[in-house]
C-alpha cells in the first residue's frame, strides 16, 4: 500500500512538473524569450501559449493513465501473492 501510494506521488510530481513547465513556463514566464525562435509562421512562445501546451496536457493525462494502469496491475498481483 505504502509503495503504491509513494510511486503514485512520484509519478504525479514528475507529470505536474512538466505540466507547469509547458504552460506557466513556456507559455507565460519564458514566452517572450522563446519568441525569438520560430516554427513555421508561429513565434515559439506564442505557439506554446495557444497550441503546444494543450497538446502536452493530453499526452500527460494518457501517460498517467498508462503508468497507473501498470502500477495497478502490479499492485493487485503483489496482493494476490501475499494473500495466497
Amino acid at each position: 500500500m505504502d509503495y503504491y501510494w509513494k510511486t503514485n506521488l512520484k509519478i504525479l510530481i514528475c507529470l505536474l512538473a512538466i505540466w507547469f513547465l509547458v504552460s506557466f513556463g513556456f507559455g507565460i514566464l519564458l514566452s517572450d524569450w522563446l519568441d525569438q525562435f520560430r516554427i513555421g509562421g508561429f513565434k515559439l512562445g506564442f505557439w506554446f501559449a495557444q497550441q503546444g501546451s494543450i497538446y502536452v496536457f493530453i499526452i500527460l493525462i494518457f501517460t498517467y493513465v498508462y503508468l497507473m494502469n501498470k502500477l495497478d496491475k502490479k499492485f493487485s498481483k503483489d496482493r494476490e501473492e501475499k494473500g495466497s
Binding site: 505557439w47 501546451s53 496536457f57 493530453i58 500527460l60 493525462i61 495497478d72
Partner: protein, 582 residues
C-alpha cells in the same frame, strides 16, 4: 433556402434528436438520476464531459475574446484545458473511488460535518447559477439573430427543451443528449473554421493554417496581423498587454477553478471505475482540445478578415453582416471625423460601455448612437466580442447552411452546459440538503420526486435569468471560477492528499477563501468599478486572477488550523486510506 429557413431546419432537427434520446434513456432510480447508474463508457463520458464543459462562452465568446485580446487571450486556452490535467491526476479517480453521488457528499463525509456539507452546497449553487445565466444569454443571442424571434420566446423554447430531457432523464438522459450535442457543436465549429482556413491560407487544418502564409502572398498570417494591428495603434497581436504576474494568476485561477467546478467533477462519478475516471478525463480533454486548438485560429482569421472588410469603407458599401449585427445592437458606428468612412482602430469608440441607439438613421443610413464619442482616439466602431464566431461564416461569405449549422451549434453548447448545471444544482438540493441534512427519513422514491421538482425549480430560476438577464453576467464569470478555485478545490485536494486535515481546518479554509475572493471581486467589480485598475490591485493581480491567491490562503489556513486542533477520527483516516488504493 434562406439562412432563416436553414436555421429553423437545423435547430429543429437537433431538438428532435435530443428529445428522442431523452425519451429512450429515462431515469428509473436516484442512482440513474444523479450519476446515470454509474455505467457510462469512459469514451462516451469523455464526449459528454466535453459538451458539459464547453458552454456558450467557449463556443460563442471565446474566439471573439481572443481575436481582440491577441496573446493575452491565451489565459483562456491554457486555463480552461490545463485544469483537466489536475482533474485527471489529483481528483477524479479518488472521488470516483469514494463512490457517492455529489461533490458536497464527499466534503460532508470526509470532514464528518454537515456544516462543511452545507457550506459546500452554497458555494456550488452560487457557482452553478452564475454559469447558467451566461448560457441563457447565448441561447437568446442565437435565437434573436438567426430566427428573428423575440429573445424571451427563444429562452422559453430553450428552457422547455431542457425541462423535458432533464426532468425526465436526469443524469442518464443528459449524458446521452450531451453526446449528441457534442457532435453538433464540434461539427458546427470545425466546418466554418476549415472553410476559412482554406480560403485564407490554402491549409485545411486551421491549427496549422494560422501559422501559414496567406494565399497569394509570401507573408505569414500572424506577421501580417502583427503589422496591421500595430499600424492601427493596438499592441501587436502576438504580444502580451497584461503583466506577467496577472497572466500567471488568471491562468492558474482558471485551471484550478475548472478542476473544482462541481458540474464537471460529477461527470466522473458516472463511469464504472476509478481507472475509467482517469481515462475518461483524458478523452474529455481530447474532445475539448479539438475546439480549443481551433479557437485561436478562428480568432486570428476573424481579426484579419474584420479589418479587411470594414476599414475605410463607406457605410453603404459595408458588408451585410455589419448592418445585421448593428440591427441587433451588437455593432455601432459613430462617424467621428464626418468623412463618411468607417475607421476601426484602438481605443473605445464611445463613452460608456454599450451603445445607446436613437430611433432615426444618420447621414449614411447607419443607426444613430446617442453616446458621446470618445475623442481620445480615432476608433469609430463598437463591436461586441460575442458576435465573432456567429458572424465569422458571414464575414467569410460561407454558404447559408454553414451559418445555420453554427447557430445550431451555439444552442447545443448552451443547452448541454445548462442541463449539466441544472442536474448539479438539483442533486445538491434533493440529495445533500434534503436527504442528508434536513429530511433524512425520505425514501428513495420520494428523493427521486424531490430531485425532479428541484430540477424544475432550477429551470424556472434559470429561465428568469434568461428573460431578465442580470447586467453583471460578464463580471460574475470571474466569480464562478474564483470561488471554485478558492473554496471547493483546496478542500477536495487536501481531503485526498492529507489525512491530517480535520473539519475545523476545512471549514476555516473554505470561509477564508470565500470571504477573501468574494470580497476582492465585489470591491472592484461592484462597489468601486472605477478603481479596477492595475495601480490599485493587490500585487497587481486583477479580480479575474485573485482566485489563485484565495486558493493559496485557503490551503495555508486549513493546514494551520488543522495542526492546532485535534486530528480527524479514525474512520476518516481509514476512508482516505481506502480511496487511495486501487
Amino acid at each position: 433556402m434562406s439562412v432563416q429557413e436553414w436555421t429553423f431546419l437545423m435547430v429543429g432537427i437537433s431538438f428532435a434528436v435530443y428529445i428522442l434520446i431523452a425519451f429512450k434513456s429515462r431515469a428509473q432510480s436516484t442512482s440513474d438520476f444523479y450519476v446515470a447508474g454509474k455505467g457510462v463508457n469512459p469514451i462516451v463520458n469523455g464526449m459528454a464531459t466535453a459538451a458539459d464543459w464547453m458552454s456558450a462562452a467557449s463556443f460563442l465568446s471565446m474566439a471573439g475574446l481572443i481575436a481582440f485580446l491577441g496573446k493575452d487571450g491565451s489565459v483562456y486556452l491554457m486555463g480552461w484545458t490545463g485544469g483537466y490535467v489536475l482533474l485527471a491526476l489529483l481528483l477524479a479517480p479518488y472521488l470516483r473511488k469514494f463512490g457517492q453521488f455529489t461533490v458536497p457528499d464527499f466534503i460532508g463525509e470526509r470532514y464528518y460535518s454537515n456544516t462543511a456539507r452545507v457550506v459546500a452546497v452554497l458555494c456550488l449553487i452560487f457557482i452553478s447559477f452564475t454559469y447558467i445565466a451566461g448560457q441563457m444569454r447565448g441561447v437568446g443571442i442565437v435565437f434573436s439573430r438567426f430566427l428573428e424571434v423575440d429573445i424571451n420566446l427563444g429562452v422559453l423554447i430553450g428552457m422547455g427543451i431542457v425541462f423535458i430531457y432533464a426532468v425526465w432523464g436526469g443524469m442518464k438522459g443528459i449524458t446521452y443528449t450531451q453526446v449528441a450535442q457534442y457532435v453538433v457543436l464540434i461539427f458546427a465549429y470545425l466546418v466554418p473554421a476549415i472553410y476559412i482556413s482554406i480560403i485564407m491560407t490554402n491549409n485545411p487544418v486551421p491549427q496549422l493554417g494560422f501559422g501559414s502564409t496567406l494565399v497569394g502572398s509570401p507573408e505569414f498570417l500572424l506577421d501580417k496581423l502583427d503589422k496591421v494591428t500595430t499600424d492601427l495603434g493596438f499592441t501587436a497581436y502576438t504580444e502580451n498587454v497584461k503583466s506577467k504576474i496577472d497572466v500567471f494568476c488568471i491562468t492558474a485561477a482558471l485551471m484550478v477553478g475548472t478542476a473544482g467546478l462541481p458540474h464537471v467533477i460529477v461527470r466522473f462519478f458516472t463511469v464504472p471505475s476509478f481507472s475509467d475516471a482517469r481515462k475518461s478525463a483524458g478523452y474529455a480533454l481530447v474532445f475539448i482540445a479539438l475546439l480549443y486548438t481551433t479557437a485561436p485560429a478562428v480568432s486570428a482569421f476573424a481579426r484579419m478578415n474584420l479589418i479587411d472588410s470594414i476599414q475605410d469603407k463607406e457605410y453603404s458599401e459595408s458588408p451585410q453582416w455589419f448592418q445585421n449585427w448593428e440591427t441587433i445592437g451588437l455593432i455601432a458606428w459613430k462617424d467621428k471625423n464626418s468623412d463618411g468612412l468607417i475607421r476601426y482602430s484602438s481605443g473605445n469608440a464611445l463613452e460608456g460601455v454599450k451603445p445607446v441607439y436613437a430611433k432615426e438613421k444618420g447621414n449614411s443610413g447607419e443607426r444613430v448612437v446617442l453616446n458621446k464619442p470618445d475623442l481620445t482616439n480615432e476608433n469609430e466602431v463598437y463591436i461586441d466580442a460575442d458576435i465573432i464566431v456567429l458572424a465569422n461564416p458571414e464575414i467569410a461569405k460561407l454558404p447559408f447552411w454553414v451559418i445555420a449549422l453554427v447557430a445550431a451549434g451555439g444552442v447545443a453548447a448552451a443547452l448541454s452546459t445548462a442541463a449539466g448545471l441544472l442536474i448539479t444544482i438539483s442533486s445538491a438540493i434533493s440529495h445533500d440538503l434534503l436527504k442528508k441534512t434536513f429530511m433524512p427519513r425520505i425514501t428513495e422514491k420520494q428523493e427521486l420526486l424531490y430531485s425532479r421538482l428541484a430540477t424544475a425549480f432550477a429551470i424556472g430560476v434559470a429561465g428568469l435569468f434568461g428573460v431578465y438577464p442580470p447586467a453583471f453576467v460578464a463580471q460574475v464569470v470571474a466569480f464562478a471560477f474564483g470561488l471554485a478555485a478558492s473554496t471547493l478545490f483546496p478542500v477536495l485536494l487536501l481531503g485526498i492528499f492529507s489525512k491530517r486535515l480535520n473539519k475545523e481546518g476545512a471549514i476555516a479554509g473554505m470561509l477564508v477563501g470565500l470571504i477573501f475572493t468574494a470580497g476582492y471581486i465585489i470591491y472592484f467589480k461592484f462597489m468601486f468599478p472605477e478603481l479596477d485598475t492595475l495601480d490599485n490591485w493587490l500585487f497587481s493581480i486583477s479580480p479575474e486572477g485573485i482566485g489563485f491567491v484565495g486558493m493559496l490562503l485557503n490551503v495555508s489556513v486549513s493546514l494551520i488550523v488543522s495542526s492546532l486542533t485535534s486530528p480527524p477520527p479514525k474512520e476518516v483516516s481509514m476512508m482516505v486510506e481506502e480511496i487511495r488504493q486501487p
